[in-house]
Symmetry: C2
Subunit: 212 residues, 2 copies
Amino acid sequence: MELTRRQETILEIVKRSGPITGDQIAERLSLTRATLRPDLAILTMSGLLEARPRVGYYYSGRSPNRVVAEKLCSVKVGTIISIPAVVTENCSVYDAVVAMFIKDVGTLFVVKEVGLLEGVLSRKDLLKTTLGGHDIHQLPVGVIMTRMPNVIYTTSDETVWSAAKKLITHQVDALPVVRSATQADGGEGLEVIGRLSKTNITRLFVELGEGQ
Amino acid sequence: MELTRRQETILEIVKRSGPITGDQIAERLSLTRATLRPDLAILTMSGLLEARPRVGYYYSGRSPNRVVAEKLCSVKVGTIISIPAVVTENCSVYDAVVAMFIKDVGTLFVVKEVGLLEGVLSRKDLLKTTLGGHDIHQLPVGVIMTRMPNVIYTTSDETVWSAAKKLITHQVDALPVVRSATQADGGEGLEVIGRLSKTNITRLFVELGEGQ
């Protein structure tokens, strides 16, 4: 939404001097209140200004990018996730690296045989280990992975925006997408149902930019 | 941007019957022209309707998603890039892995001593090599890197959207940001001045979602 120069000026006046009445704004601009009415209506309805009876107009603190922000925050994780690539805890580091190449992913999730989340393996976890002079054919990934409860995860219902914030804050490339699950023995856990990576976010960015 | 029910109705009327004058719209809704003025102004300014003098309002064909798309396509690479992490071609694979950890990046750029782009090293390039039983203390990265002219790159002036599309299409995690440079000996090349990764895109996504 592009503002006219007059609307930008009104916004500036209200930012600096709000709360301020419509008559006071009109006086500063040497215009009549009636002339300003459509501009004030637009600024109020777009959420940039708020109006309170007997007080006047004040700045809402919302930027014109509100439209963009609302759209970006409306997409749910469940709509853009990929298939998770998983290995079990006793898988060797060597086999995990091979799985990473075969499945063409940058992050592997480590699960119990019933599919419950136990840990996460990044490319750098594996790189550090292959460099370290270990016998990677014998070393199980359980020894080097990031283990629950230290794994950052997301759910299908979370917004992509909120999940993206986790990726940045915790400096990880991908999150397992999980749901609560009860095992046959009555134990509780998190079942891995998907993968959300920076690639998914980048692809969404490209799609939204196409106006799709 | 959320439209009010009345604005939605106006949009529907113009979609079906446009071009149509403000008076005609007012008549259909049994409202005065003055009452509708702010609504019509908002619909016009947000790009959903267009107005032509002596013709009336018509539907622009732009969806609210168009507004989002225009914003996403307006950001330039130069505004969000990171510092590049570089090594030279005769650096050993071992030293490159160490540099990747120390500089906390996922992609290294390989440059000639004068800073001109020669190649790119990903985590997976290095992982594949450490797994392969090579002497990584002796093997130079020049042997395993993706070499020019096969390196995908971007410039400060390119839109982030277009660069993001390259990341997805070519399945890479980061692009070197370059500019043309002439060497002392008169040779031409591409000087590496930055790094654009999926992390930069994800961070931008988070910032735009905050309405910043």
